[in-house]
């Protein structure tokens, strides 16, 4: 369970450009929930993810992960339980290292990075098998540098790498946005499969309304730092993309856009 309690976040505080993003924001995400988050630009979706992961600090409020307060915990420590995939495929892999080295690096998460051999040859077959599921032919390119792969291939690897070790939360930050429609579809299906297999509590920010409806069991729409729409799995199943667009437009009209 992940709880955000009375979160306040201001940007440029103390200047004339001060902007309040979150004002007493509260959100509770239960275990094994797969939350799709949609909303216009600047609505606070990515800030929400960054606050959860500790990439940005809050001004006040508490963040409680499985009963323990992690508000002051450093970003890198939080990732012990969190896996994250970014919008930019380059963020999830190391371009100058080979596929095998990247997989080995990710496989060691949670264990000490000591003077033991970087690649465990016995695990190579397991990596190959995981890569084979992607159907991208990566299993035959184990010694190819990741920098020479396409964005879709890298993103598939990033997803695989971030979920390789036992984690409890998966943070997806528009992870299909930079991909072509077909690759995006593949990555999305793979995401759903991994989330179900590993029973991960997932928060997915997306601009694709169809993905938001089709995948996950909860839907949030963010607007000006608030969750203006919060639909459960059952309610979500009855909504159509047009309904969602309707709400979107309504909000935009209110803002005068």
């Amino acid at each position: 369970m992940l709880e955000l309690k009375n979160i306040n976040k201001y940007y440029n505080s103390g200047t004339v450009n001060e902007m309040c993003l979150f004002n007493n924001f509260n959100l509770t995400i239960k275990d094994h929930e797969f939350v799709s988050v949609i909303g216009s630009n600047g609505s606070g979706k990515t800030s929400l993810l960054n606050i959860i992961c500790g990439s940005i600090a809050t001004d006040s409020g508490n963040l409680i992960m499985q009963g323990s307060d992690i508000t002051g915990e450093k970003e890198f420590r939080r990732y012990r339980k969190i896996g994250r995939v970014y919008q930019n495929p380059a963020m999830g892999t190391c371009p100058s290292m080979t596929i095998l080295e990247n997989m080995s690096l990710a496989d060691n998460k949670g264990k000490p990075y000591n003077l033991g051999s970087g690649t465990n040859r016995k695990r190579a077959e397991f990596y190959r098998e995981s890569l084979r599921q992607l159907n991208l032919g990566l299993e035959d390119k184990m010694n190819v540098k990741v920098g020479s792969l396409s964005g879709g291939q890298r993103q598939a690897m990033a997803l695989l790498m971030s979920t390789m070790t036992p984690i409890e939360f998966l943070i997806l930050d528009e992870h299909t946005a930079a991909l072509d429609p077909k690759t995006a579809e593949t990555i999305m299906e793979l995401t759903d499969q991994i989330v179900k297999e590993k029973k991960l509590t997932t928060i997915m920010v997306t601009h694709n309304l169809r993905y938001a409806l089709e995948y996950g069991n909860r839907l949030l729409m963010m607007h000006q730092g608030e969750a203006v729409l919060d639909k459960s799995a059952a309610e979500k199943a009855e909504m159509s993309i047009d309904d969602l667009l309707g709400v979107f437009n309504q909000i935009s009209i209110e803002c005068g856009n």
Binding site: F76, I82, M91, T93, C94, L105, N108, G116, G118, S162
Partner: protein, 294 residues
């Protein structure tokens, strides 16, 4: 022949330093000017302890440790105090000038008539008289190869993987639940350890410490790394560390050639700088060409 020998000796001593620059410049993507201070630091420490009668081999270890410390200081200034990478190095380099003077006691410390790693009773017994003129070369090659193989082995460990990852994409180190700042400090420590080790070998080979011997270290190291890695770009069989060592020898050869053809030894630093500029421009031209063809 003696010129060639000199080039090889000096080139390979600088190659040890270039391995350190390879870590900061190529792996960490950190322009580390600490080098100009940590190279003479290694020499100063060596001169200081050898004057006190410390074993020359032990002096290498002490110099390495001193270099590690200087790297840690640069790392902490950059990571914890959030000073820009280039400035962190400049701060430590500047400070080290005084520290080096303190350690050595004065700006020029000779260590003539002392046993060094090149010339000591043990080594002289082992190596036959006939190869005496190559003795220095043997020793520098041994130190350089030991450094190279140790670095190669390290880069294949889990810790080494993390070091390579942090320069490539520090975000991934964070998402692997590791402190990317700590990894950077570690990299700077190892790099400056090697640079100071090189300074120690240089001090023992020249048999004196001189305060200005570090000026231009960074440039020589960068030039070696760029020559080496560009030259062997298309030979994936040649390890980058090997390429860097060869690059250092080639670079030293170019400088020696320039001086042989009429320039005086006082022009050394100018030659160093101009050669570096030529190398930078040439290696960039190559990149452009590739892009235009693509």
């Amino acid at each position: 022949m003696s010129i060639l020998l000199g080039v090889l000796e000096q080139g390979i001593i600088y190659a040890i330093m270039a391995l350190g620059i390879y870590i900061t410049y190529k792996i960490l993507d950190f322009p580390d000017l600490t080098a100009d201070g940590s190279f003479p630091l290694g020499a100063a420490v060596t001169a200081a302890v050898m004057v006190k009668g410390v074993n020359p081999y032990l002096a290498l270890v002490i110099a390495f440790a001193a270099g590690v410390l200087s790297g840690i200081v640069t790392g902490i200034i950059h990571v914890k105090l959030k000073v820009r990478d280039l400035l962190s190095g400049i701060i430590v380099m500047t400070g080290l000038y005084s520290v080096n003077l303190r350690i050595a006691g004065k700006s020029n410390v000779p260590i003539f008539n002392m046993e060094t790693i090149f010339d000591n009773a043990g080594l002289n017994n082992v190596l036959p008289e006939s190869v005496a003129s190559y003795q220095t070369l043997f020793v520098v090659v041994a130190v350089a190869l030991a450094s190279k193989f140790a670095l190669d082995a390290y880069l294949k460990t889990k810790s080494g993987y993390l070091l390579r990852a942090v320069g490539d994409n520090s975000v991934i180190v964070t998402t692997l639940a590791k402190d990317s700042g700590f990894v950077k400090i570690l990299g700077l420590a190892i790099a400056n350890g090697l640079i100071a080790l090189s300074g120690s070998v240089m001090c023992q080979q020249q048999r004196f410490f001189e305060i200005s011997m570090g000026t231009g270290t960074m440039v020589i190291g960068l030039a070696s790394v760029i020559i080496g890695t560009n030259l062997f770009k298309n030979f994936s069989k040649v390890r980058a560390t090997t390429a860097v060592i060869i690059g250092a020898v080639i670079y030293k050869g170019c400088v020696a050639a320039a001086i042989k053809f009429g320039l005086s030894a006082t022009d050394m630093k100018l030659v160093t700088a101009v050669l570096f500029l030529i190398i930078l421009v040439l290696s960039r031209g190559r990149v452009k060409k590739v892009k235009n063809n693509a």
